[in-house]
């Protein structure tokens, strides 16, 4: 089965390419900033989906990898003058390595215990970075403006960051598709349905879960480095917001847990909705309450999310929406 012949593979990629490409063609700064946030959430949601959607393990600490990977990458840029690309890769690899170590321990826990442990990891990581001298403690790290000279000025550096993020997002979604349609991915789905049965059927569950965790942790590390480089600074409060982890969860639920297109659509829809609520004078101060209400309605009435609901309601679409 060639992936590029499957509509389920190229529809999400095409959507991202077109949506993200517009800013590259138009070259407008405001559009780039808006799309940057959008792409960031699409990539975060798609990578979290590899763990949460396929294995059913709820991870409240996805943002730990965003924060720690971002911190590591940013550290090499600001203190050692590395170029953005190797620094982002090191950020991603650090996150992946951390996930491998954590995963061996934490993934022995099941269900709600795992979810609780990830909340603990998030809090512990934030408190640790707050106190860790090389990372600047509570004030964090900054970049020197001279660093932009290497990229031909600040605007060029920002466009490069944006292009890299677009590529990362495309790769994340492609990987998410490849994993789901591989033998390994089927093992993950089996774990989601019934972990004991999967084990009996010959899925090596601890290894499979850890690999899924590592893959899902790699992308936030890269995205974190890109995001903090764009901002020019990094501090613990920004890097480890439990809130952001949960927003990403909401996006996945909105689009459809365990689907490829779902996290993409969910992230886009949530971001647009939040943008609207924040700017509309009527809902401005109540945007959090409305987002909560939306989440509650989804959880109670359409737990399969948008894509899941469409697939169930219109079986014809199953070939098109993966």
């Amino acid at each position: 089965m060639k992936p590029w012949r499957q509509p389920g593979f190229w529809i999400p990629l095409l959507l991202i390419l077109v949506g993200g490409g517009v800013a590259l063609v138009v070259r407008k700064d405001t559009l780039r900033e808006m799309t940057f946030t959008l792409l960031m959430y699409v990539a975060l949601a798609s990578s979290l989906n590899i763990l949460m959607g396929y294995t059913g393990y709820v991870n409240f600490g996805h943002i730990v990898f965003f924060g720690l990977g971002g911190y590591t990458g940013f550290y090499f840029i600001s203190r050692h003058g590395w170029h953005l690309v190797p620094a982002a890769l090191v950020g991603g690899l650090t996150s992946a390595l951390l996930a491998a170590l954590l995963g061996l321990a934490v993934l022995r826990l099941r269900g709600a215990y795992f979810a609780l442990a990830t909340i603990g990891i998030n809090e512990a990581a934030r408190a640790f970075v707050n106190n860790f001298r090389p990372f600047g403690g509570p004030t964090g790290l900054f970049v020197n403006f001279a660093i932009y000279r290497e990229y031909g000025g600040a605007p060029q550096a920002l466009w490069l960051t944006y292009t890299l993020l677009l590529i990362t997002t495309l790769v994340a979604v492609a990987v998410s598709y490849t994993v789901k349609n591989s033998r390994f991915g089927l093992g993950l789905l089996a774990i989601r349905e019934d972990e004991d049965a999967a084990m009996v059927m010959g899925v090596r569950t601890p290894r499979a879960k850890t690999i899924a965790y590592v893959i899902s942790a790699f992308f936030p590390g890269i995205i974190g480095t890109l995001f903090f480089f764009k901002n020019g600074n990094v501090e613990p409060g920004d890097a480890f917001r439990l809130h952001m982890s949960i927003e990403v969860l909401v996006m996945i639920m909105l689009g459809g847990n365990g689907t490829i297109l779902g996290p993409v659509l969910g992230a886009a829809a949530y971001e647009r909705l939040r943008g609207y609520l924040l700017t509309s004078p009527l809902f401005k101060s109540l945007h959090l309450a409305f987002a909560g209400l939306a989440l509650l309605l989804i959880v109670l009435f359409i737990p399969a999310g948008l894509v899941g609901w469409l697939r169930r309601r219109f079986p014809v679409l199953r070939r098109w929406l993966e």
């Binding site: 609780l116 106190n131 439990l242 969860l249 309450a289 987002a291 909560g292 959880v299 109670l300």
Partner: protein, 286 residues
């Protein structure tokens, strides 16, 4: 030096009673219905503002106001259960995590719109009690005493009354309890209500000695998780003991490490206990 250690220890333990009270609510809800209540912190914040409003606008003594807060929070718990939890009580736990978090977002969202995120405090004092080298604020002693009384009340309720016994039966085996004629929905709603009540009362007690914002609840919620795991999830008496351990740690750690390391130690311990003994240090479930 020794006097300082003793003072920090006693201070921490008194605070620990209130932490334990908050964690008890979380633990009860988990034990009975296997739901991790992520709206716990928001409800504590509601309790804080409940006491604040009655104290500043009605001039009510905070401890008397707790008596008003109790039925109000019980009703609020029924409401949350009916609206957000009842439909998904048998769904995968992701649903209940997200549903209770949605309630949290709504409460915090409305709360922020009404109270903003600025700092409030209840200007109430009971003087200082001196005992040897110790100087204890009266409000902390009173809060610890109130926490003990409420815990005793909860135990009498759970072990001596029919609805309490029904809650324990449902915690033990929901299907079997239903077969014995215990209405599951009402019992679950009651447990959720009591869990909410405990959270709100703990929040109310905290206002008598710490300033707070609408967002303060989330910090106490994280502490409650740590305490629940220390004492064994689903074991309310363990939660009180876990609270005392955490309070003692918060008192003692700053003597050897900078204060900002306290959460690092707490949450590392939390993850380690989950890994080594997920049933908690005190093991057995009620």
């Amino acid at each position: 030096m020794l006097a300082q250690i003793l003072a920090s220890l006693v201070d921490g333990i008194l605070l620990g009673f209130v932490y334990g009270l908050a964690a008890m609510g979380l633990s009860l809800i988990w034990g009975v219905m296997r739901v991790i209540n992520l709206s716990h912190g928001a409800i504590m914040a509601l309790g804080m503002f409940g006491i604040y409003l009655t104290f500043t606008h009605l001039g009510l003594n905070p401890y008397l106001a707790l008596l008003l807060l109790a039925p109000a929070s019980l009703l609020f718990g029924f409401l949350v259960y009916g609206v957000a939890v009842h439909r998904i009580i048998n769904a995968p736990y992701l649903s209940s995590l997200l549903a209770t978090f949605a309630v949290n977002m709504m409460v915090i969202g409305i709360g922020t719109a009404v109270f903003t995120t600025s700092l409030y405090n209840v200007d109430f004092s009971l003087g200082t009690v001196r005992a040897g080298v110790l100087a204890l604020p009266g409000t902390r002693l009173a809060a610890a005493a109130a926490a003990v009384l409420i815990t005793a009340g909860l135990y009498l309720f759970l072990y001596r009354t029919r609805p309490g016994k029904a809650i324990r039966a449902v915690a033990n085996n929901r299907a079997a309890a239903a077969l014995m004629g215990i209405p599951p929905a009402q019992t679950l709603a009651l447990s959720f209500g009591i869990g909410t009540l405990l959270a709100a009362l703990a929040g109310g007690l905290i206002t008598t000695f710490f300033p707070f914002t609408i967002l303060s609840g989330s910090g106490y919620q994280s502490k409650s998780f740590v305490i629940c795991v220390l004492g064994g999830l689903g074991n309310p008496l363990g939660a009180l003991l876990g609270g005392l351990i955490l309070g003692a740690m918060e008192g003692l750690i700053p003597i050897v490490l900078p204060v900002s390391w306290v959460p690092v130690v707490e949450f590392t311990l939390f993850v380690l206990i989950l890994l080594i003994r997920p049933s908690g240090l005190l093991g057995a479930r009620t």
